[in-house]
Protein backbone atom coordinates (compact mmCIF):
# COMPACT_ATOMS: atom_id res chain seq x y z
CA UNK A 1 0.00 0.00 0.00
CA UNK A 2 2.69 2.40 1.09
CA UNK A 3 4.90 1.76 -1.92
CA UNK A 4 1.91 2.26 -4.19
CA UNK A 5 1.33 5.66 -2.60
CA UNK A 6 4.97 6.48 -3.14
CA UNK A 7 4.78 5.53 -6.79
CA UNK A 8 1.67 7.64 -7.17
CA UNK A 9 3.36 10.60 -5.60
CA UNK A 10 6.34 10.09 -7.87
CA UNK A 11 4.09 10.12 -10.92
CA UNK A 12 2.42 13.28 -9.68
CA UNK A 13 5.76 14.91 -9.04
CA UNK A 14 6.87 14.00 -12.56
CA UNK A 15 3.69 15.42 -14.02
CA UNK A 16 4.26 18.60 -12.05
CA UNK A 17 7.80 19.05 -13.32
CA UNK A 18 6.79 18.33 -16.88
CA UNK A 19 4.17 21.05 -16.73
CA UNK A 20 6.69 23.49 -15.34
CA UNK A 21 9.23 22.55 -18.01
CA UNK A 22 6.68 23.10 -20.76
CA UNK A 23 5.77 26.42 -19.21
CA UNK A 24 9.43 27.35 -19.40
CA UNK A 25 9.51 26.45 -23.11
CA UNK A 26 6.49 28.67 -23.69
CA UNK A 27 8.17 31.48 -21.78
CA UNK A 28 10.98 31.51 -24.37
CA UNK A 29 8.68 33.09 -26.95
CA UNK A 30 7.85 35.91 -24.53
CA UNK A 31 11.53 36.27 -23.66
CA UNK A 32 12.33 36.56 -27.38
CA UNK A 33 10.02 39.54 -27.73
CA UNK A 34 11.39 41.18 -24.62
CA UNK A 35 14.96 40.58 -25.80
CA UNK A 36 14.24 42.02 -29.25
CA UNK A 37 12.74 45.18 -27.81
CA UNK A 38 15.38 45.53 -25.12
CA UNK A 39 18.46 45.01 -27.30
CA UNK A 40 17.18 47.17 -30.15
CA UNK A 41 16.15 50.06 -28.00
CA UNK A 42 19.11 49.95 -25.65
CA UNK A 43 21.60 50.51 -28.48
CA UNK A 44 19.24 52.97 -30.14
CA UNK A 45 19.06 54.97 -26.94
CA UNK A 46 22.85 55.22 -26.82
CA UNK A 47 22.84 56.10 -30.52
CA UNK A 48 20.53 59.04 -29.93
CA UNK A 49 22.82 60.36 -27.24
CA UNK A 50 25.42 60.87 -29.96
CA UNK A 51 23.19 61.78 -32.88
CA UNK A 52 20.34 64.23 -32.64
CA UNK A 53 16.95 62.68 -33.26
CA UNK A 54 15.98 65.69 -35.38
CA UNK A 55 18.95 65.16 -37.68
CA UNK A 56 18.07 61.47 -37.92
CA UNK A 57 14.57 62.12 -39.21
CA UNK A 58 15.06 65.31 -41.23
CA UNK A 59 18.55 65.33 -42.74
CA UNK A 60 18.71 64.17 -46.34
CA UNK A 61 22.25 62.82 -46.15
CA UNK A 62 23.14 59.30 -45.03
CA UNK A 63 26.90 58.80 -44.69
CA UNK A 64 27.39 57.06 -41.33
CA UNK A 65 30.74 55.53 -42.29
CA UNK A 66 32.35 58.45 -44.10
CA UNK A 67 33.63 61.73 -42.74
CA UNK A 68 31.83 64.05 -42.31
CA UNK A 69 29.26 61.64 -40.89
CA UNK A 70 25.63 62.37 -41.63
CA UNK A 71 22.78 60.45 -40.10
CA UNK A 72 19.69 61.37 -42.10
CA UNK A 73 17.53 58.26 -42.45
CA UNK A 74 15.33 59.78 -45.19
CA UNK A 75 17.24 58.30 -48.16
CA UNK A 76 16.96 54.79 -46.65
CA UNK A 77 13.33 55.34 -45.71
CA UNK A 78 12.44 56.56 -49.20
CA UNK A 79 14.37 53.65 -50.72
CA UNK A 80 12.42 51.20 -48.56
CA UNK A 81 9.11 52.84 -49.44
CA UNK A 82 9.96 52.68 -53.13
CA UNK A 83 10.54 48.94 -52.89
CA UNK A 84 7.32 48.52 -50.88
CA UNK A 85 5.29 50.57 -53.36
CA UNK A 86 6.83 48.97 -56.45
CA UNK A 87 6.34 45.43 -55.20
CA UNK A 88 2.75 46.25 -54.14
CA UNK A 89 1.90 47.43 -57.65
CA UNK A 90 2.83 43.95 -58.85
CA UNK A 91 1.86 41.69 -56.00
CA UNK A 92 -1.45 43.11 -54.79
CA UNK A 93 -3.42 42.88 -58.07
CA UNK A 94 -1.69 39.68 -59.20
CA UNK A 95 -2.24 38.01 -55.85
CA UNK A 96 -5.85 39.14 -55.55
CA UNK A 97 -6.78 38.07 -59.09
CA UNK A 98 -5.07 34.73 -58.61
CA UNK A 99 -7.06 34.27 -55.43
CA UNK A 100 -10.36 35.13 -57.15
CA UNK A 101 -9.52 32.75 -59.96
CA UNK A 102 -8.61 29.89 -57.65
CA UNK A 103 -11.56 30.37 -55.34
CA UNK A 104 -14.37 31.20 -57.81
CA UNK A 105 -13.42 30.12 -61.32
CA UNK A 106 -10.78 27.44 -61.43
CA UNK A 107 -11.54 23.80 -62.04
CA UNK A 108 -10.25 21.38 -59.41
CA UNK A 109 -7.57 20.12 -61.79
CA UNK A 110 -6.28 23.64 -62.46
CA UNK A 111 -6.16 24.32 -58.74
CA UNK A 112 -4.11 21.21 -58.18
CA UNK A 113 -1.49 22.61 -60.58
CA UNK A 114 -1.53 26.27 -59.56
CA UNK A 115 -1.52 25.76 -55.78
CA UNK A 116 1.78 23.81 -55.72
CA UNK A 117 3.34 26.35 -58.10
CA UNK A 118 2.44 29.10 -55.64
CA UNK A 119 3.77 27.02 -52.76
CA UNK A 120 7.05 26.53 -54.60
CA UNK A 121 7.28 30.26 -55.36
CA UNK A 122 6.64 31.02 -51.69
CA UNK A 123 9.34 28.55 -50.62
CA UNK A 124 12.12 29.86 -52.86
CA UNK A 125 14.77 31.62 -50.73
CA UNK A 126 14.98 35.36 -51.24
CA UNK A 127 18.63 35.05 -52.25
CA UNK A 128 17.46 33.18 -55.36
CA UNK A 129 15.05 35.99 -56.25
CA UNK A 130 17.92 38.41 -55.77
CA UNK A 131 20.03 36.47 -58.26
CA UNK A 132 17.07 36.39 -60.66
CA UNK A 133 16.57 40.15 -60.33
CA UNK A 134 20.21 40.95 -61.02
CA UNK A 135 20.85 38.49 -63.86
CA UNK A 136 17.45 38.39 -65.56
CA UNK A 137 15.14 41.30 -64.70
CA UNK A 138 17.79 44.04 -64.76
CA UNK A 139 19.14 43.15 -68.25
CA UNK A 140 15.57 43.18 -69.61
CA UNK A 141 14.91 46.58 -68.02
CA UNK A 142 18.17 47.87 -69.49
CA UNK A 143 17.10 46.74 -72.94
CA UNK A 144 13.76 48.53 -72.67
CA UNK A 145 15.06 51.64 -70.88
CA UNK A 146 18.78 52.05 -71.60
CA UNK A 147 19.30 54.62 -68.84
CA UNK A 148 18.63 51.92 -66.21
CA UNK A 149 21.55 51.45 -63.84
CA UNK A 150 22.98 47.99 -63.05
CA UNK A 151 21.61 48.24 -59.53
CA UNK A 152 18.16 49.80 -59.43
CA UNK A 153 15.01 49.95 -57.37
CA UNK A 154 12.69 48.79 -60.17
CA UNK A 155 14.35 45.41 -60.66
CA UNK A 156 14.40 44.69 -56.93
CA UNK A 157 10.77 45.82 -56.61
CA UNK A 158 9.66 43.41 -59.32
CA UNK A 159 11.49 40.52 -57.64
CA UNK A 160 10.08 41.38 -54.21
CA UNK A 161 6.64 41.65 -55.84
CA UNK A 162 6.99 38.14 -57.30
CA UNK A 163 8.09 36.87 -53.91
CA UNK A 164 5.11 38.24 -51.97
CA UNK A 165 2.45 37.44 -54.60
CA UNK A 166 1.88 33.88 -53.27
CA UNK A 167 1.36 35.30 -49.79
CA UNK A 168 -1.34 37.75 -50.99
CA UNK A 169 -2.93 34.99 -53.07
CA UNK A 170 -3.07 32.36 -50.36
CA UNK A 171 -4.27 34.68 -47.59
CA UNK A 172 -6.98 36.19 -49.83
CA UNK A 173 -8.00 32.79 -51.13
CA UNK A 174 -8.37 31.41 -47.62
CA UNK A 175 -10.69 34.32 -46.84
CA UNK A 176 -12.75 33.77 -50.00
CA UNK A 177 -13.06 30.05 -49.37
CA UNK A 178 -14.35 30.84 -45.90
CA UNK A 179 -17.38 32.70 -47.31
CA UNK A 180 -20.24 30.21 -46.90
CA UNK A 181 -21.37 28.54 -50.08
CA UNK A 182 -25.00 29.42 -49.34
CA UNK A 183 -24.23 33.08 -50.02
CA UNK A 184 -22.64 32.16 -53.34
CA UNK A 185 -25.56 29.92 -54.29
CA UNK A 186 -28.00 32.65 -53.33
CA UNK A 187 -26.33 35.08 -55.68
CA UNK A 188 -26.32 32.52 -58.50
CA UNK A 189 -30.01 31.82 -57.88
CA UNK A 190 -30.74 35.48 -58.50
CA UNK A 191 -29.20 35.05 -61.93
CA UNK A 192 -25.77 36.58 -61.29
CA UNK A 193 -22.85 35.75 -63.52
CA UNK A 194 -19.61 34.47 -61.97
CA UNK A 195 -18.09 37.90 -62.41
CA UNK A 196 -20.91 39.48 -60.43
CA UNK A 197 -20.73 36.85 -57.71
CA UNK A 198 -16.98 37.32 -57.39
CA UNK A 199 -16.81 41.09 -57.51
CA UNK A 200 -20.13 42.10 -55.91
CA UNK A 201 -20.56 39.37 -53.33
CA UNK A 202 -17.40 37.46 -52.47
CA UNK A 203 -14.79 40.23 -52.58
CA UNK A 204 -16.91 42.69 -50.56
CA UNK A 205 -17.66 39.92 -48.06
CA UNK A 206 -13.99 39.39 -47.26
CA UNK A 207 -12.71 42.88 -47.92
CA UNK A 208 -11.25 43.17 -44.43
CA UNK A 209 -9.23 39.96 -44.77
CA UNK A 210 -8.00 41.06 -48.19
CA UNK A 211 -6.97 44.45 -46.82
CA UNK A 212 -5.16 42.77 -43.96
CA UNK A 213 -3.40 40.42 -46.41
CA UNK A 214 -2.26 43.47 -48.36
CA UNK A 215 -0.84 45.14 -45.26
CA UNK A 216 0.96 41.95 -44.20
CA UNK A 217 2.46 41.56 -47.66
CA UNK A 218 3.69 45.15 -47.70
CA UNK A 219 5.19 44.65 -44.25
CA UNK A 220 7.00 41.63 -45.63
CA UNK A 221 8.33 43.75 -48.51
CA UNK A 222 9.58 46.37 -46.06
CA UNK A 223 11.55 43.75 -44.13
CA UNK A 224 12.84 41.91 -47.21
CA UNK A 225 16.61 41.92 -47.21
CA UNK A 226 18.59 39.78 -49.63
CA UNK A 227 16.81 40.81 -52.84
CA UNK A 228 17.43 44.50 -52.18
CA UNK A 229 20.96 43.86 -50.93
CA UNK A 230 21.78 42.19 -54.25
CA UNK A 231 19.75 44.09 -56.82
CA UNK A 232 18.83 47.53 -55.49
CA UNK A 233 22.33 48.84 -54.93
CA UNK A 234 24.15 50.46 -52.03
CA UNK A 235 23.90 54.18 -52.69
CA UNK A 236 21.83 55.98 -50.10
CA UNK A 237 20.87 58.94 -52.24
CA UNK A 238 17.50 60.61 -51.93
CA UNK A 239 15.86 59.88 -55.28
CA UNK A 240 12.43 58.89 -56.51
CA UNK A 241 13.73 57.50 -59.78
CA UNK A 242 13.20 53.72 -59.74
CA UNK A 243 15.84 53.17 -62.42
CA UNK A 244 18.61 54.46 -60.17
CA UNK A 245 20.65 52.72 -57.55
CA UNK A 246 19.26 53.19 -54.04
CA UNK A 247 19.66 51.67 -50.59
CA UNK A 248 16.99 50.42 -48.22
CA UNK A 249 17.13 50.14 -44.44
CA UNK A 250 17.66 46.38 -44.63
CA UNK A 251 20.19 46.81 -47.43
CA UNK A 252 22.22 49.17 -45.28
CA UNK A 253 22.16 46.76 -42.33
CA UNK A 254 23.48 43.88 -44.40
CA UNK A 255 26.00 46.01 -46.18
CA UNK A 256 27.60 47.31 -43.02
CA UNK A 257 27.53 43.90 -41.33
CA UNK A 258 29.57 42.33 -44.11
CA UNK A 259 32.51 44.29 -42.77
CA UNK A 260 33.65 43.41 -39.28
CA UNK A 261 31.76 45.87 -37.09
CA UNK A 262 33.01 46.22 -33.55
CA UNK A 263 30.76 46.56 -30.54
CA UNK A 264 30.58 50.11 -29.21
CA UNK A 265 31.43 51.85 -32.48
CA UNK A 266 29.01 54.30 -34.02
CA UNK A 267 28.51 51.89 -36.96
CA UNK A 268 27.29 49.21 -34.56
CA UNK A 269 24.84 51.58 -32.91
CA UNK A 270 23.66 52.88 -36.28
CA UNK A 271 22.72 49.35 -37.38
CA UNK A 272 20.64 48.95 -34.23
CA UNK A 273 18.96 52.33 -34.66
CA UNK A 274 17.98 51.46 -38.23
CA UNK A 275 16.90 48.00 -37.07
CA UNK A 276 14.75 49.50 -34.33
CA UNK A 277 13.00 51.76 -36.83
CA UNK A 278 12.45 48.79 -39.16
CA UNK A 279 11.03 46.77 -36.28
CA UNK A 280 8.67 49.58 -35.27
CA UNK A 281 7.41 50.03 -38.85
CA UNK A 282 6.76 46.33 -39.50
CA UNK A 283 5.31 45.83 -36.02
CA UNK A 284 2.82 48.65 -36.51
CA UNK A 285 1.82 47.28 -39.91
CA UNK A 286 1.20 43.85 -38.39
CA UNK A 287 -0.93 45.40 -35.67
CA UNK A 288 -2.90 47.39 -38.25
CA UNK A 289 -3.48 44.20 -40.24
CA UNK A 290 -4.89 42.50 -37.15
CA UNK A 291 -7.06 45.49 -36.23
CA UNK A 292 -8.58 45.60 -39.72
CA UNK A 293 -9.62 41.96 -39.46
CA UNK A 294 -10.94 42.23 -35.92
CA UNK A 295 -12.87 45.40 -36.53
CA UNK A 296 -14.41 44.87 -39.94
CA UNK A 297 -14.81 41.12 -40.10
CA UNK A 298 -18.15 39.93 -41.42
CA UNK A 299 -19.49 37.10 -39.31
CA UNK A 300 -21.58 34.42 -40.91
Amino acid sequence: MKSQGKAKRKVHLGEFFIEKALQLFAAISILTTIAIIFTLFQETFIFFQEVSIIEFFTSKMWTPTLHPRNFGILPLLVGTMMIALGSSIIALPLGLFTAIYLSEYAHKKVRSVVKPVLEILAGIPSIVYGFFALTFITPILQKILPQTQVFNAASASIAVGIMITPMVASLSEDAMMAVPDSIRQGAYALGSTKFEVAMKVIVPACLSSIASAFVLAISRAVGETMIVAIAAGASPTLTFNPLKSIQTMTGFMVNISLGDIQHGTIEYKTVFAVGALLFVITFMMNIVAKLIVNKYREEY
Binding site: A26, I30, L94, T98, I124, T135, F136, M199, V222
Partner: protein, 299 residues
Protein backbone atom coordinates in the same frame (compact mmCIF):
# COMPACT_ATOMS: atom_id res chain seq x y z
CA UNK B 1 -51.00 41.58 -80.58
CA UNK B 2 -49.82 44.59 -78.68
CA UNK B 3 -48.99 42.54 -75.61
CA UNK B 4 -47.03 40.16 -77.75
CA UNK B 5 -44.73 42.84 -79.13
CA UNK B 6 -44.14 44.17 -75.69
CA UNK B 7 -43.01 40.81 -74.35
CA UNK B 8 -40.86 40.40 -77.41
CA UNK B 9 -39.18 43.71 -76.77
CA UNK B 10 -38.65 42.72 -73.18
CA UNK B 11 -37.00 39.47 -74.11
CA UNK B 12 -34.78 41.26 -76.57
CA UNK B 13 -33.78 43.81 -73.99
CA UNK B 14 -33.08 41.18 -71.39
CA UNK B 15 -31.12 39.16 -73.88
CA UNK B 16 -28.97 42.16 -74.68
CA UNK B 17 -28.36 42.75 -71.03
CA UNK B 18 -27.40 39.15 -70.32
CA UNK B 19 -25.15 39.09 -73.34
CA UNK B 20 -23.15 42.05 -72.17
CA UNK B 21 -22.97 40.65 -68.65
CA UNK B 22 -21.80 37.32 -69.98
CA UNK B 23 -19.22 39.09 -72.10
CA UNK B 24 -17.98 40.98 -69.07
CA UNK B 25 -17.67 37.70 -67.26
CA UNK B 26 -15.73 36.14 -70.13
CA UNK B 27 -13.31 39.05 -70.37
CA UNK B 28 -12.79 38.93 -66.62
CA UNK B 29 -12.24 35.18 -66.75
CA UNK B 30 -9.57 35.60 -69.40
CA UNK B 31 -7.95 38.33 -67.37
CA UNK B 32 -7.85 36.13 -64.26
CA UNK B 33 -6.30 33.27 -66.20
CA UNK B 34 -3.66 35.68 -67.46
CA UNK B 35 -2.88 36.88 -63.92
CA UNK B 36 -2.66 33.33 -62.62
CA UNK B 37 -0.48 32.09 -65.46
CA UNK B 38 1.99 34.87 -64.69
CA UNK B 39 3.11 32.97 -61.60
CA UNK B 40 3.68 29.80 -63.59
CA UNK B 41 5.56 31.71 -66.30
CA UNK B 42 7.74 33.45 -63.72
CA UNK B 43 8.58 30.16 -62.03
CA UNK B 44 9.50 28.64 -65.40
CA UNK B 45 11.68 31.65 -66.31
CA UNK B 46 13.39 31.59 -62.94
CA UNK B 47 14.21 27.90 -63.17
CA UNK B 48 15.35 28.28 -66.78
CA UNK B 49 17.60 31.22 -65.90
CA UNK B 50 19.23 29.34 -63.03
CA UNK B 51 19.73 26.08 -64.89
CA UNK B 52 20.99 27.71 -68.08
CA UNK B 53 23.60 29.74 -66.16
CA UNK B 54 24.62 27.18 -63.60
CA UNK B 55 24.08 23.64 -64.79
CA UNK B 56 27.35 23.35 -66.76
CA UNK B 57 29.29 24.34 -63.67
CA UNK B 58 27.79 21.68 -61.49
CA UNK B 59 30.25 18.86 -60.94
CA UNK B 60 31.67 16.64 -58.27
CA UNK B 61 34.63 19.01 -57.95
CA UNK B 62 32.23 21.88 -57.35
CA UNK B 63 30.70 20.01 -54.43
CA UNK B 64 34.07 18.93 -53.10
CA UNK B 65 36.20 22.09 -53.49
CA UNK B 66 36.72 24.93 -51.09
CA UNK B 67 35.79 28.45 -52.21
CA UNK B 68 38.49 30.15 -54.20
CA UNK B 69 39.41 33.43 -55.85
CA UNK B 70 39.41 31.57 -59.16
CA UNK B 71 35.91 30.71 -60.30
CA UNK B 72 36.90 27.49 -62.09
CA UNK B 73 38.49 26.13 -58.89
CA UNK B 74 35.80 27.35 -56.49
CA UNK B 75 33.51 24.92 -54.73
CA UNK B 76 30.90 24.88 -52.02
CA UNK B 77 32.16 22.19 -49.69
CA UNK B 78 32.66 24.45 -46.66
CA UNK B 79 29.31 26.20 -47.24
CA UNK B 80 27.49 22.90 -47.66
CA UNK B 81 28.99 21.47 -44.49
CA UNK B 82 28.30 24.76 -42.70
CA UNK B 83 24.66 24.64 -43.78
CA UNK B 84 24.31 21.06 -42.58
CA UNK B 85 25.82 21.95 -39.21
CA UNK B 86 23.62 24.99 -38.70
CA UNK B 87 20.44 23.30 -39.86
CA UNK B 88 21.00 20.16 -37.78
CA UNK B 89 21.50 22.20 -34.64
CA UNK B 90 18.53 24.43 -35.49
CA UNK B 91 16.33 21.34 -35.87
CA UNK B 92 17.67 19.91 -32.63
CA UNK B 93 16.80 23.09 -30.69
CA UNK B 94 13.61 24.20 -32.39
CA UNK B 95 11.72 20.89 -32.54
CA UNK B 96 11.46 20.19 -28.78
CA UNK B 97 10.98 23.88 -27.97
CA UNK B 98 8.26 24.37 -30.56
CA UNK B 99 6.39 21.16 -29.83
CA UNK B 100 6.72 21.69 -26.06
CA UNK B 101 5.25 25.19 -26.33
CA UNK B 102 2.42 23.90 -28.52
CA UNK B 103 1.62 21.13 -26.01
CA UNK B 104 1.60 23.67 -23.21
CA UNK B 105 -0.72 26.00 -25.09
CA UNK B 106 -3.12 23.28 -26.22
CA UNK B 107 -3.14 20.83 -23.35
CA UNK B 108 -2.00 22.55 -20.16
CA UNK B 109 -2.79 26.23 -20.23
CA UNK B 110 -6.43 27.33 -20.10
CA UNK B 111 -7.23 28.79 -23.49
CA UNK B 112 -9.23 31.59 -21.90
CA UNK B 113 -6.52 32.67 -19.46
CA UNK B 114 -4.70 35.93 -20.06
CA UNK B 115 -1.34 34.12 -20.20
CA UNK B 116 -2.51 31.89 -23.01
CA UNK B 117 -3.91 34.86 -24.94
CA UNK B 118 -0.71 36.83 -24.41
CA UNK B 119 1.35 33.89 -25.67
CA UNK B 120 -0.82 33.48 -28.77
CA UNK B 121 -0.68 37.18 -29.66
CA UNK B 122 3.04 37.22 -28.98
CA UNK B 123 3.70 34.22 -31.22
CA UNK B 124 1.62 35.74 -34.04
CA UNK B 125 3.58 38.97 -33.77
CA UNK B 126 6.94 37.19 -33.69
CA UNK B 127 6.03 35.46 -36.95
CA UNK B 128 5.78 38.88 -38.59
CA UNK B 129 9.15 40.21 -37.42
CA UNK B 130 11.59 40.54 -40.36
CA UNK B 131 14.32 37.91 -40.30
CA UNK B 132 17.08 40.52 -40.23
CA UNK B 133 15.79 41.75 -36.84
CA UNK B 134 16.33 38.24 -35.47
CA UNK B 135 19.87 38.58 -36.76
CA UNK B 136 20.35 41.70 -34.62
CA UNK B 137 18.89 39.86 -31.64
CA UNK B 138 21.34 37.01 -32.25
CA UNK B 139 24.22 39.45 -32.51
CA UNK B 140 23.36 41.18 -29.25
CA UNK B 141 22.34 38.11 -27.23
CA UNK B 142 24.22 35.05 -28.49
CA UNK B 143 27.34 36.56 -30.03
CA UNK B 144 27.91 39.24 -27.42
CA UNK B 145 25.98 38.58 -24.21
CA UNK B 146 26.53 34.79 -24.03
CA UNK B 147 29.89 35.21 -25.73
CA UNK B 148 29.34 32.39 -28.23
CA UNK B 149 31.26 34.48 -30.77
CA UNK B 150 30.46 34.30 -34.48
CA UNK B 151 29.98 30.56 -34.30
CA UNK B 152 27.72 27.88 -35.71
CA UNK B 153 26.01 27.77 -32.30
CA UNK B 154 25.12 31.48 -32.45
CA UNK B 155 23.76 31.04 -35.96
CA UNK B 156 21.70 27.98 -35.06
CA UNK B 157 20.22 29.62 -31.95
CA UNK B 158 19.28 32.70 -33.99
CA UNK B 159 17.55 30.60 -36.64
CA UNK B 160 15.82 28.62 -33.87
CA UNK B 161 14.16 31.76 -32.58
CA UNK B 162 13.30 32.75 -36.16
CA UNK B 163 11.41 29.57 -37.01
CA UNK B 164 10.00 28.82 -33.57
CA UNK B 165 6.68 30.66 -34.17
CA UNK B 166 6.12 28.70 -37.39
CA UNK B 167 6.73 25.36 -35.67
CA UNK B 168 4.55 26.27 -32.69
CA UNK B 169 1.59 27.21 -34.89
CA UNK B 170 1.94 24.08 -37.04
CA UNK B 171 2.25 21.85 -33.97
CA UNK B 172 -0.78 23.51 -32.36
CA UNK B 173 -2.87 22.80 -35.46
CA UNK B 174 -1.73 19.19 -35.48
CA UNK B 175 -2.44 18.72 -31.77
CA UNK B 176 -5.87 20.33 -32.14
CA UNK B 177 -6.76 17.78 -34.80
CA UNK B 178 -6.42 14.84 -32.39
CA UNK B 179 -9.97 13.55 -31.72
CA UNK B 180 -11.11 14.17 -28.18
CA UNK B 181 -12.57 10.66 -27.96
CA UNK B 182 -9.06 9.18 -28.10
CA UNK B 183 -7.86 11.42 -25.29
CA UNK B 184 -10.92 10.72 -23.12
CA UNK B 185 -10.45 7.02 -23.78
CA UNK B 186 -6.92 7.22 -22.53
CA UNK B 187 -7.95 9.13 -19.40
CA UNK B 188 -10.70 6.59 -18.77
CA UNK B 189 -8.04 3.89 -18.55
CA UNK B 190 -6.48 5.81 -15.66
CA UNK B 191 -3.51 7.03 -17.66
CA UNK B 192 -1.88 10.27 -16.52
CA UNK B 193 -1.91 13.44 -18.57
CA UNK B 194 1.70 13.29 -19.70
CA UNK B 195 1.41 9.62 -20.59
CA UNK B 196 -1.68 10.44 -22.63
CA UNK B 197 0.24 13.15 -24.43
CA UNK B 198 3.25 10.97 -25.24
CA UNK B 199 1.22 7.83 -25.90
CA UNK B 200 -1.85 9.15 -27.71
CA UNK B 201 -1.65 12.80 -28.70
CA UNK B 202 1.88 13.00 -30.07
CA UNK B 203 1.85 9.81 -32.16
CA UNK B 204 -1.40 10.94 -33.76
CA UNK B 205 -0.21 14.49 -34.36
CA UNK B 206 3.36 13.61 -35.34
CA UNK B 207 3.00 13.64 -39.15
CA UNK B 208 1.39 17.07 -39.00
CA UNK B 209 4.03 18.34 -36.61
CA UNK B 210 6.83 16.94 -38.78
CA UNK B 211 5.40 18.50 -41.93
CA UNK B 212 5.30 21.92 -40.29
CA UNK B 213 8.77 21.48 -38.82
CA UNK B 214 10.32 20.41 -42.10
CA UNK B 215 8.80 23.38 -43.92
CA UNK B 216 10.07 25.72 -41.21
CA UNK B 217 13.55 24.22 -41.33
CA UNK B 218 13.69 24.45 -45.09
CA UNK B 219 12.90 28.14 -44.66
CA UNK B 220 15.83 28.41 -42.25
CA UNK B 221 18.04 26.67 -44.80
CA UNK B 222 17.45 29.50 -47.30
CA UNK B 223 17.97 32.35 -44.85
CA UNK B 224 21.03 34.53 -45.33
CA UNK B 225 20.24 37.90 -43.74
CA UNK B 226 20.10 36.90 -40.04
CA UNK B 227 23.28 34.86 -40.37
CA UNK B 228 25.11 37.77 -41.98
CA UNK B 229 24.10 39.85 -38.97
CA UNK B 230 25.49 37.31 -36.49
CA UNK B 231 28.69 37.36 -38.47
CA UNK B 232 28.80 34.29 -40.66
CA UNK B 233 31.70 34.92 -42.98
CA UNK B 234 31.50 35.11 -46.75
CA UNK B 235 34.74 33.22 -47.24
CA UNK B 236 35.61 30.13 -45.23
CA UNK B 237 38.36 27.90 -46.59
CA UNK B 238 38.32 25.21 -43.91
CA UNK B 239 35.86 22.66 -42.69
CA UNK B 240 33.97 23.54 -39.54
CA UNK B 241 34.51 20.76 -37.02
CA UNK B 242 32.45 21.82 -34.03
CA UNK B 243 29.60 24.10 -33.00
CA UNK B 244 31.98 26.83 -31.81
CA UNK B 245 33.74 27.19 -35.19
CA UNK B 246 33.17 30.11 -37.49
CA UNK B 247 31.20 29.19 -40.55
CA UNK B 248 29.45 30.11 -43.75
CA UNK B 249 26.27 28.68 -45.26
CA UNK B 250 25.08 28.08 -48.82
CA UNK B 251 22.91 31.22 -49.15
CA UNK B 252 25.73 33.46 -47.94
CA UNK B 253 28.24 31.80 -50.27
CA UNK B 254 25.77 32.35 -53.13
CA UNK B 255 25.32 35.98 -52.07
CA UNK B 256 29.07 36.42 -52.00
CA UNK B 257 29.47 35.07 -55.54
CA UNK B 258 26.47 36.98 -56.88
CA UNK B 259 27.85 40.30 -55.69
CA UNK B 260 31.11 39.88 -57.61
CA UNK B 261 31.30 41.68 -60.92
CA UNK B 262 32.90 38.85 -62.95
CA UNK B 263 30.41 36.89 -65.03
CA UNK B 264 31.99 33.55 -64.17
CA UNK B 265 31.11 33.99 -60.52
CA UNK B 266 27.47 34.45 -61.55
CA UNK B 267 27.68 31.00 -63.12
CA UNK B 268 28.95 29.30 -60.00
CA UNK B 269 26.42 31.28 -57.95
CA UNK B 270 23.73 29.70 -60.13
CA UNK B 271 25.33 26.27 -59.62
CA UNK B 272 25.22 26.91 -55.86
CA UNK B 273 21.55 27.85 -56.15
CA UNK B 274 20.84 24.54 -57.90
CA UNK B 275 22.42 22.67 -54.98
CA UNK B 276 20.43 24.74 -52.46
CA UNK B 277 17.17 24.26 -54.34
CA UNK B 278 17.80 20.51 -54.63
CA UNK B 279 18.15 20.34 -50.84
CA UNK B 280 14.98 22.38 -50.34
CA UNK B 281 13.07 20.29 -52.85
CA UNK B 282 14.07 17.10 -51.04
CA UNK B 283 12.89 18.56 -47.75
CA UNK B 284 9.60 19.76 -49.22
CA UNK B 285 8.95 16.48 -50.99
CA UNK B 286 9.41 14.68 -47.67
CA UNK B 287 6.92 17.06 -46.08
CA UNK B 288 4.37 16.48 -48.84
CA UNK B 289 4.73 12.70 -48.63
CA UNK B 290 4.21 12.88 -44.87
CA UNK B 291 1.18 15.10 -45.33
CA UNK B 292 -0.40 12.74 -47.84
CA UNK B 293 0.18 9.76 -45.59
CA UNK B 294 -1.41 11.64 -42.74
CA UNK B 295 -4.44 12.68 -44.78
CA UNK B 296 -5.01 9.09 -45.90
CA UNK B 297 -5.02 7.90 -42.35
CA UNK B 298 -7.67 10.30 -41.11
CA UNK B 299 -9.98 9.56 -44.03
Amino acid sequence: MEINTQTNMHTIKRKNNINSRKLKNKVFHGFLILATTMSIIVLALLLYQIFSTGFKYLSFDFLNNMPSRFPHKAGIKSALVGSIWVISLTALFSFPLGVGTAIYLEKYSNSKSWLNKLLQINIANLAGVPSIVYGMLGLAVFVRFFNFERSILSGALTLTLLILPVIIVAAQEAIKSVPDSLIQGSFALGVTKWQTITGVVLPYALPGILTGTILAISRAMGEAAPLIMVGAAGYIAFMPSGPMDSFTVLPIQIFNWTSRPQAEFQNIAAAGIIVLMALLLTANATAIILRNKYQNRTD
